[in-house]
Structure formats: C-alpha cells, structure tokens
Amino acid sequence: MNLVWLQGLLARRPLRVWGSAAGVALTVAFLALLLTFVSAGRANMTRRAVQAVPVDWQVLLGPGTTLQTAEGAIRTATPVKTLLRVGYADVAGFTASTGGTVQTTGAGKVLGVPNGYRAQFPAEIRPLIGAADGGALLSQQTSANLHAGIGDTVHILRYGAPPATVRVAGIVDLPQADSLFQAVGAPKGLAPQAPPDNVLLLPRATWDTLFAPQRAARPDTVREQLHVRLNRVLPTDPGQAFALITRLANNVEARLSGSAVVGNNLAAKLDGAREDALYAQALFLFLGLPGGILAAALTLTVAGASNAQRQQEAALLRVRGASEQAVVRLGAAEALVVGGTGTAFGLALAALIAPQLTGGLLRPVDALLPALVGLGLAFAAVLLPTLRAVRGASVMAQRRAVGRAGTPLWQRLYLDVGLLALAGLVFWRSAASGYQLVLAPEGVAKASLQLEAFVAPLALWLGGTLLALRLLGLLVAQKRLTRVLRPLSGTLSGVVAASLGRQRPLLLRGAALVALATAFAVSTSIFNATYNDQVRVDAVLTNGADVTVTGNANAPAGEHLAALRALPGVADAQPLIHRFAYVGADLQDIFGIDARHFTDVSTLSNTYFKDMTAAQALARLQSRPDALFVSQETVNDYQLSLGDPLRLRLLNARTHQYEVVPFTFVGVVREFPTAPKDSFLVANAGYLARMTGNGAAEVALLKVSGNPQAVVQAAQQTMVNLPGVQVTDLATVRSRIASGLTAVNLAGLAHIELAFAVLLLAASTGLVLALGLAERRRTFTVLNALGARPHQLGAFLNGEGLVVVGFGGLFGLVIGLGVAQTLIKLLQGVFDPPPEHMLLPWLYLLGLLVAGLISTALALTFARRASGQRVTEVLRAALG
C-alpha cells in the first residue's frame, strides 16, 4: 500500500513532494556548506600557523645537559625533520671605527649559527648586503649604529675575555627577532622580552673559538639552544594541534628531567590560531544559524500549504477503513521520500560547490549534522501535519487565518519586549566585559566561546521581528491602513483595509517570514561588507599603502620617489621616514610623515589615535614642527602629559652619533601604517630630517590607479640595483597577515551567505505571498465574478503585497541594521583594528530590493492571472 500511495503522490502531487524536498535540500546544502567552511577555515588556520613559525621549538639546554642527551630525548619523543645547535653569547657591546669616528653600542648578542641554518630555517635570516652565510653578519640596526659596512672591522666586547675582532661579511635583517631572542623558560604571563638592539651572527666554528674563553670565565653569558623543525602530521583543528604539540614539549622536558626548557613557538602560534578558530565558530553561529532557521521555516511554510490537502486525504483514508497507524505510516513514507531526496540533493549540491566556495571538500563528519537536520525537517514538515490530521485537529481551525483574531499568546506574554530586554541585557554585559567573546588564555589548553553572547543578536532578531509584528498588527487592525491605501485602492481603500485587518494572522505570518529574511540578508551583507573593508584596512595598516617600497638606511627608497611616481599605474607617491630613536634606554621605531599629504597615499582610521580623529591628529602634527605622537605604553612608563617636552636620541648623519632632539608630546597613537605592534613614535618628516641632517626617507608609499601587480613588478625593476629593498602590495600582505580571522579568506562564507540570503529573501517574498494568495484564490475569483476590474483586483492584491512585503521588508531592514550593529560590536575581536562604523553594501542591498520586487511582482502577476483564469472551474471547485 505504501508503494502504491507513494507512486500516486509522485504522479498526482509532484509539487507538494518536490517543493518540500527542495526546501529540505536548500537547508541541508546551506548547513553543509557552512560546516565545510568552518572545517576548511580551521585546517587553513592550522596550516598557516605551522607555515608562519620560523622554528618549531627552541630548546634551551641547562648547564648539565649534553647535546647528545637532549637530541636523543627529542628524537624519542617525536619525529624530527631538522635539529641544529645554535650558540647564544651575551656581550657588553660592539665598537667600530669608520669615517674617522669610533662608534660603540650598548649590550648585544652574538649568535653561533651552524652551516645550513639559513636553508633549514629561511624565515630567520634575510640577507640584505654582502654574504648570506659563512662570515660575520651584522644585523641591519647594528650596522646603522656602528656605521659599519661590508669589509669593516668590528670589535666584540666579550665578558671575561678581551675584545675579539671580526670583519663584516654581510648585513642581514632578522625578521623573527622576537622569537629568536625570546626568553625561553620565562614564567608565563611575563611581558615578552624585547630583542637586543645589537646582534652579530658568526659561523658556528668561529663562535665556538671566540667564546670558549668567555664560557669558561662567565658561563652564565653563554648558552646553547637546539632549533628544531618537527616532522609530524598535525590535526587540522588548531586546538587539537596545540594540545598535541604542548604535550610533546612537556614529554621532552620530562625526559630531560627539567634540565632543558622547550621554547614552543609552534604551540604559541597554534594558541593564537585556536582563538581564531573559535571566532570562525562564532561567525558560523552568528551568521549561519539564522539562515538555517530561516530556510527551515520556509520549508515548513511551503509544506504547510498542503496541510488542508493532507487533512482531506487522511479523512478519506479513514472513511475507507485505513487505521490511524496506516495513515501515519503513509505520512512517514512521504516524509522519508521528502527527507531522503532533499537531504541527498542538498549534500550533493554542497559537495559539488564546496570546493569553489569554501576551498575545502565536504567531509562525512560535516555532512552528518545537516543530514540529520534534513530528515528531522522533513518529518516536521510532513509527518507532524499527518499526525495532527489523524488525531482530528480541525483543518478549519488550522486555516482559521481570517476573522476576528484574538491576541496571540506571545503578545499577551509580551515575549517581544522580553526578548528585546534580554538582548539589551546580554549586549550590555558583553560591552562591560569589552566584548570578550573568545576566552583562550595564553598557554592554557582549554579555550571557550562565550555562547551566551549569541543570545543578544538572536534575541534582537526574534524580539525585533515579534515587536514588528505587534506594531504591524496594530497598524493593520481597525482599518488604520485606509489612508495609506487610498492612493493605491481609491474608493476601495476602506474595504481593502478591513479585509487586510481581518486576515491579520495570515498576513502577519507572511510578513514575519519576510522580515526575518530581510533582516538576515541585510545584517549578513552589512557584516560581510564591514568585514571585507576591515580586512583592507588591516592590510593597509600593515603595508602602509597600495604598494610599499621598503628600503633601509643604506638604500632609502625615498630617493627614487620621482622615478616611482612616474611608473605607469602609480597615482601618487609619498615618502615615509622610518628610523629608530631612544626614549630613555628604550629603542623605538620613529616614523616621519608629511602630515599634509600622508593620506593622499595611505589610510588613517580614527581608532588609530586616542581621544581624537585622524584628521585632528594630522592637524595637531602640523600645528608645530616638533609635535610627537607616542604610544600609550610610553605615556604610562614616562608619566607624560599633553604638551610635555620629550627628549629623544636620534642618529645624526653629520656626526654619526646619537644626539638629543627635543620634541613635544601632542597625542597618543595606537596604530599606524607599517608600524609595529609595540611602542613607536610618529613625528613630522621635515623636522626629523632637519634635526638629524638626513632627509632620506627609507620607505616610499605608492597609491595605485592601475594593476598593483604590474606596479610591483615595475617598482622592483626600478629598485633592482638597491640591495635589500622590498616591494609589497596589499594582496601579498593580506595573504601573509597571520593575526585574527582576517587571515582566513572569508570570501567563501560571504558567497554562501549572500547567495542564500538573496534566495531566501526572494523565496520569502514571492513564495509566501504566492502561497497566501493561492490559498485565497476563491476570494479573488469571487471578486472577478462580481465584476472587479483588473485595477480593483490589484487593489486587494497590492494591499496584501504592501503589508507582507512592504511593511515586512521595512521592519526587516530596521531589524537587520540593528542586528548588524550588534554583530559588529560583539565580534570586535575578529576585526583588527575594530571598525569605526558599519559599511552599507549599497549595490548588494539594491540587488536584494530588486530580487524582492521581482519575486513580489511575479507572485502578484501569478495571483492576478490565476483569479481570471478558468473562473468556472475555480468557482465550481471552490463553491460546489
């Protein structure tokens, strides 16, 4: 019987079965794509974290540990790809005699680097000039401090031994100095140690020879580290990878009985990545679940349109002797067909497009939840109405959408007000805790997501929609719409308003779905637009401009500004001075800019400055030549107040000595293009040049009007003879930024969300309106029979369109703006820096409007045509 019934259903009611299955497929595909995105994002984060670590482990050996013991313990604990011994020696300083003057630096470090180190750990040492290996390599900063170049002699001021002399073979940059010189084994929570200002790299054999006396005299100043690259397949989830790597490091330390400490760079990097992974999960919950709920609601609405039919069928089957169980079995069989087909199609669709949209493959584990949801949804949409039908719930009661409606329970309970109050309360709590959504304490394996924070946008979404329904209900009731409808309906406005008022429950149901869909689409698109813009801001913050040419003291890019400005595709070019200055004993980066023209090529966000906008900051910089912006940390350390004089020591080009230059503290800078995360200074380029006798700008910032890649290539050609000069564009930097979720390309999520949002909005407006109108086809046919002209019929149809789509969409827009604002505030941690305001994607919003209007127009046209077609049949069927 089941098979015959199903065959009959598929033959006679194809729309009912396939319509519901399509809804299930849409929901399943949406959820599967989102989960695939999250999985792919996590795997990507782990991969990036691993790639970004220059050295996985830096194992500091204690006094009693031999290299062989340590190496044996490490290799027993885990497979190792590379393991090299690096010597670290503290020295009192360096001196060099160049240009008739003698320069002496403060304390520094000398590293003993084994052969092949640069090949095995390429991120640690970047050669700038001269030899890359095999000789004495001076760090760029030390070279500048000593005015020492290739071939110059440098004296190493050793502890407990006379000075040693080496000849400089090359100048190098140490991009990962922070981790290279980290205090391995320092207690957790201690502020990270600043890398030394003066560094010299020696071949391991030379280092052994030079520092043997110092090791004997001052063993506390000479240490050994093992630099390790692990050879291990890590779990794709950063949290699990972090836990595994931490356990392995603990194992090594235990094997060495505490006589060696592991500087776990890989775990530290994964520690940050797992926080990002939790934010990805947050994004999934915030942005994905409403879409899933909406798709499910839409499926239930579509399936609900057949409830009356099901009721009739159940009644007929019962009359003809079918038992309750038999009817329920038939309903279950239909649900199985709908659920099975919809789920299979949804998963197939997701598997097909996941690689393009998410960059990952649909894994069985990610397909499980959507499949369960799909089957559950099918049973809810098909089997529950059948059960209700069998148990005798009156279809007329279900369809009692017209008449003198009472006040719904949620209105009497003020659920809308309650939800909004809850949203406000949770949001206030989140704000009070600085929007700390993800708790991943550094070094602690357990990380958590503040799930209760999700309540705020969800409650705002639902509460806002319910409040909108309450307001819309008040507006629609009591013919209040008469005046609004007059331009559309003329003398029929009163009767149309009365008709709309008495169909309130039905119309409000449609309007609710439209409002939810609009709010979802609007909030998602605004969040995505804001996010994407912030990724750009983040990239500009790191790179400085569309294309940045970074030179150095020996090869300043600013000297070639005219040539760079003349390159095809370059709209403008500005110099940026980047040097170092001593604030007390602290060496900080100092940037010199032309405040009048800096924003011609770069972007300054208001959040970069404390208590003032970017424009005010630039104006303040222009107000006096010696104006100086400093970091908050410096303000705290030196107890500075606005207007305080500040005396920095800067390298003078004429004297080759660090000399005092007076400045005036005018404000606090938090972030600045190309600046490091820690303390730095911003001053006027002209003043800096004048006071140091050096007008050369190390960096050139280019604004590009053409293809950035072409500009990069042309700039590289221009700079080909300048050693150590780097040319970077935003795209390169964007792919390299390893902080926050912005490191992960959210384009896939955006595509899924935005495409589904349009689809859901179009379906909600058109389909819901069409289903509602189809349910009342008889009404429109009777109107036709009474002699209503097309425009009069239109008055009734347009009235419904106005309430369902017009008001539903309008309320949805307002709710969407509110939810977007809440999302952006709550997910501040995703953004670096946080956005100043949300960005409205006008084109997409216009697309949404057009999609909504087209589907509404199609629904109205369908209804108008349907009411005029085969009047006799409709009247006979409906009235007979």
Partner: protein, 243 residues
C-alpha cells in the same frame, strides 16, 4: 431556439412581450482541455432571455448548467457560437450592475462583514463608500438582515449567508440575475424562505435564471429548461405544464 416570449403569461406589472432580449445565445459550445483531452461542457445551446423571465434550469450534475450560466453572465467565453446582450450592452459592462450572480454557497468574501459584502459591488461600480454603505444597509434591512450587518460570513448560518448573497446580487439593481443552485446546500424550509425572499425582491422587468436540482424550487418559475448530456433539450412553460 428556446424562447420564452410566445408563452409569457402577462401578470400585473410584468414586462411587455416585445421587449428587446436581455441575452441571446446562438449555437454556444464550451470545451475544456483536461489532461490533454477535449471535454465538452456545453454543446450548441441556442436561447433568448427577456426582461421579467423566471427560468429554472434543471438537469443532473455535470449536465452543463453552471457552464451555461457563466457564459450567459459573461464570466466565461464560448469555444464556438455567440452570446450577446442586446438590451444590456457589451460583456465587460455587464458586471457589476446589469448582471448579478448568486452562487451555491460560501461566495461571500470571508474577511468582509455582511454589510461590506453587500456594499462591495457598488464600490466596484464606483460609488462612494458612504453611499454604498447606505444602499447596502437598506437592502439588508429589506431582507430582514440588518441585525447581521456586522457579522462575518463565518458567523452566519447557511441560510443567512445565502440571503446576504441575494442582497449582494440585488443591491446594484441588476436586469438579469443568474443563480447557480442558490438553495443547493440548504434544508428545504430554509430554501423555501430564501426563494420567497428572492422572488419577492425582484422587480417586474428583472429576469432570473436559476440552475437547480430542486423540483419544488423549479416549479415556482415560469419556465423550466432541461439539460442533459451537456445539451439544452426541452423547455416547459409554466408550473402547470411542467408538473
């Protein structure tokens, strides 16, 4: 051609025998396409209806009664043959105003009160809301329905709803009323009362064509038209002849 005129009994106040016909149908056939097959709903009907006619259209279910009524009222168009309204004008001008329908049941618009339902044809005809409401209220009063003016259709009994439907048909002072089994879902007493109201409310020059299964109701008409197998097969004049 089925013709009522030669046999028209002239009662007090009834229309003159030589009046221009309200409707004239010649060789009217209506076919539908269903599941790829052509189904004939009405075949070669030829007839004429004059002012003041009281015609009962008798026939079993599916004989084509409703189709004929919808064609006569301009709600549908024939597949072949012609329907004209010599005394009424063109098809699009017929409703609301000159031709009105009374359907079997549930033809009132559910979201509108009885008063609003009755006023609706006047509003569709372009009357102001106030005037339409006054006129509708007057008709409800006349049919003793004033107490139900603000009730919704779902709050009315079947008989009350049909009386409201009659009021809605009469409110525009039509020249031709086409009633499609108006008593079909009513018990006999209620059906009798409804017919009393309908007939009593008709003006002398208003024609009524009523499709019905009910012989008692049919015999209260002047003329009986019989339909079988989608054809108009016979005419009987007056209840005496038909009984």
């Amino acid at each position: 051609m089925l013709e009522t005129r030669p046999f028209l009994r002239m009662g007090p106040g009834r229309a003159a025998p030589l009046a221009v016909p309200l409707v004239e149908a010649r060789g009217v056939t209506r076919e539908f396409q269903m599941a790829g097959q052509t189904v004939t709903a009405l075949q070669s009907a030829t007839l004429r209806i004059h002012p003041g006619d009281r015609i009962a259209l008798l026939g079993p279910s599916g004989s084509g009664k409703s189709t004929l009524l919808y064609l006569l009222g301009g709600l549908d168009t024939p597949t072949s043959g012609t329907v004209t309204w010599p005394a009424l004008g063109q098809g699009p001008d017929l409703r609301p105003g000159k031709v009105a329908f009374v359907f079997q049941a549930q033809s009132l618009l559910p979201p509108l009160t009885a008063l609003e339902n009755v006023a609706l044809p006047l509003l569709l005809g372009g009357q102001s809301p106030d005037a339409a409401e006054q006129e509708a209220a007057a008709w409800l009063e006349r049919l003793a329905l004033h107490s139900l003016a603000h009730q919704l259709p779902e709050e009315l009994s079947g008989g009350q709803a049909q009386r409201v439907a009659v009021a809605r048909a009469l409110v525009t002072h039509p020249r031709l009323i086409l009633a499609d089994e108006p008593t079909g879902q009513l018990d006999s007493a209620t059906a009798q009362r409804l017919l009393d109201v309908l007939l009593a409310s008709l003006g002398p020059d208003v024609a009524l064509v009523m499709a019905t299964h009910d012989l008692h109701a049919a015999h209260r008409m002047d003329t009986l038209w019989r339909m079988q197998d989608r054809q108009l097969i016979s005419v009987t004049h007056g209840p005496e002849e038909g009984s």
